[in-house]
């Protein structure tokens, strides 16, 4: 299916949101936050959330410092 990740179109056969995040986290970032169709998707909902055609996902790394 076609989806958008960080504003760029891609295709995936992965169904589960958590699996998709693991696949794209090639740099092994420790703390990621993600939104699905512009709404934040809490991490504990990632394993039970399914991807659908046309979904727009934004993933970003949260690093410490303040």
């Amino acid at each position: 299916m076609k989806i958008k990740i960080n504003g760029r179109e891609t295709t995936t056969e992965t169904i589960v949101f958590a699996d998709f995040i693991s696949e794209i986290n090639t740099t092994g970032e420790k703390f990621l936050a993600a939104s699905l169709n512009s709404k934040i998707l809490p991490r504990d909902e990632w394993p039970e959330t399914r991807l659908n055609e046309g979904d727009s996902i934004e993933v970003f790394s949260i690093v410490g410092g303040g």
Binding site: I5, N6, G7, R8, T10, T12, E23, I24, N25, T26, T27, K30, F31, A33, S35, S38, K39, I40, P42, R43, E58, V59, F60, S61, I62, V63, G64, G65, G66
Partner: protein, 211 residues
């Protein structure tokens, strides 16, 4: 002459009617709060559980005489010293996912000003679950020195994230760079409350590549 006579025309009156929550009163929170008060924000809700330590003075808006004092209280005194009419709510508490919605109830917008990454994440999740229509402005990646062109504003829905997205606090924190990130947060908050469109950039492209 009034405090706000040199502010951008038409902004102070709007900001005077707004409330901003600031979660954390360290390098991000203390510097952002000072700028927001100078910009004319009417009400602030500030929260931090921590006390001022000497090692905070390299980047946080505190002084030698504050060491040992609760950060939220020490900051409150400086904010009031700038604008005595500021409507200020001070919480000396440790924020957790359970108390965040109540502590910042009534805020039009929240500024994330924590230091630990895991706390930043739970703050975003807790705020967005409680107040999905209200913006949150966060910081991720403000450590090290320079590389100013890497500091961006990015956005998804009502979540705005400033910083470079990669530099971790383990490499050390520099006064100027932290204050820039804090003031990027303050600026985005001001722009949002004035109803302006915030200029943003796409999130990092490495997450768009498939392994």
């Amino acid at each position: 002459m009034g405090i706000f006579d040199r502010n951008v025309k038409g902004t102070t009156e709007i900001l005077a009617g707004k409330t901003i929550g600031i979660a954390g009163c360290g390098g991000l929170g203390s510097n952002a709060a000072v700028s927001l008060v100078r910009a004319g924000i009417g009400s602030l809700i500030i929260a931090d559980f921590d006390s001022v330590e000497e090692s905070n003075l390299n980047r946080q808006h505190f002084f030698q005489s504050d060491i040992g004092k609760p950060k939220a209280e020490a900051l409150a005194a400086y904010l009031k010293a700038i604008n005595p009419d500021l409507n200020l709510t001070v919480h000396n508490i440790r924020l957790d996912p359970g108390n965040i919605p109540a502590v910042f109830k009534g805020a039009d917008l929240l500024i994330e000003a924590f230091d630990k990454a895991e706390a930043k994440v739970f703050l975003i999740e807790s705020w967005c679950a409680a107040y999905p229509d209200k913006p949150i402005v966060c910081a991720s990646g403000l450590a090290g020195i320079g590389h100013l062109r890497s500091l961006k504003v990015r956005c998804t829905g009502n979540i705005y994230i400033v910083g470079d997205g990669t530099s971790d606090m383990t490499i050390g924190l520099n006064s100027a760079r932290v204050a820039i990130a804090a003031n990027m947060e303050a600026s985005v908050a001001i722009e949002l409350l004035l109803g302006k469109e915030v200029e943003t950039e796409l999130f990092r492209s490495e997450f768009s590549r498939r392994s």
